[in-house]
Amino acid sequence: MHARRWRFQIVMVTVLILEDDVDCRELLGEVLATRAHSCVKAGTLAELAGRKSEALACDLALLDINLGPTQPSGVDACRWLLRHGFHGRIAFLTGHGDSHPLVLEAATFANAPVLAKPIKARRLLEFVQEVG
């Protein structure tokens, strides 16, 4: 009964998307927009820092773990967010295996699930809805 009720209640969530792949970033934004969620997008930690106030106001941060070989990782971004008082939920997105050092590091953050790529659009929307 409860499940049926939330399925029809659409809660708008502001999602911070940190993803280095432009296509993936835009597509995540578009899929979330179909449920009226708004997004703040960034490709690197520097970009994220540049939009600090918007980023910190988000309800959910979806952080890609590997942001490129020369860039700080999603784990660094997570630390940055927590250091600056981010109060929303954090989730990691990754294409790496469970044994990758960065994934292992990401798994140490409490209440920050690590979602494996490719994640189904429906599963992603459900997750965002749960946060809301």
Partner: protein, 269 residues
Amino acid sequence: MGLVALPERDAFAARRATIATALLLLFTDCGFAAIERAVHGDIHWMYLAHATLGALIALLLWRSRMASARWSLVAYVVLVLPMLPIVWVIDARALTSGAPWQPFTGAKLVVLGLIVLTPRSTAAAALLAIFIAEWALFWNHFALWTHPAITASGEPWVVLLYFMAGLLLVWMRWHNHRLDREQYERDLEAQTIREVSQVATAVRDLASTPLQNLELSIADLRSRHPEEQLTLERMDRSVGRLTDLRPLSDKEKEMARVRVLRTVGEHLE
């Protein structure tokens, strides 16, 4: 750091051992020639011929860095076999001269050399057998059991002891070599698994974001063009199959491991 391939490692060891033997024989032949000259006043041509052969082989192998283990072994045998007549002639000359003689010094030195320097332990065992046969022939030819000075010096037991110890040491060399090979196989297997695992992980990591994009694109298309249900389902199935390939990486690793073990096994045979 990668492992050096087994044939290359064997070839390097065989070439090094053969060059060492050639140089050793060159110096001992020259040394014995000098002793001969001091004692008898002349030099036997066999020393000089063998020293020249040693110098030639050392030079040839030194220059040909790509010599295979087989060629090095052939060169080694070519170096060692002339020792048969040389040992015979030296011992016969000493025996017939009537001068005080330490019996079979040459044969004992040859045994020690064969144990340490022969590139392959099977070849070492074969050469030891040839030299003991020659020694038995020599013993019989000169009827040395009737020679009081020789029997008084503990012969034939001392020489036989040398040969027995030689065979035992050669067997130990063969055993150690086998253990070494087994360790090499294990290292090679571990290295291959590591490499295959790295490749599989890299492929999986690189494929993840494109697959994610396809997944989200299909979802986007579905929301915009729900009437294209059939096409969207086909795309869904294809992406699903590609996604299912990722867990296969572990199976791929296992298959690669089996392939490598089979290749190593064939190579060792």
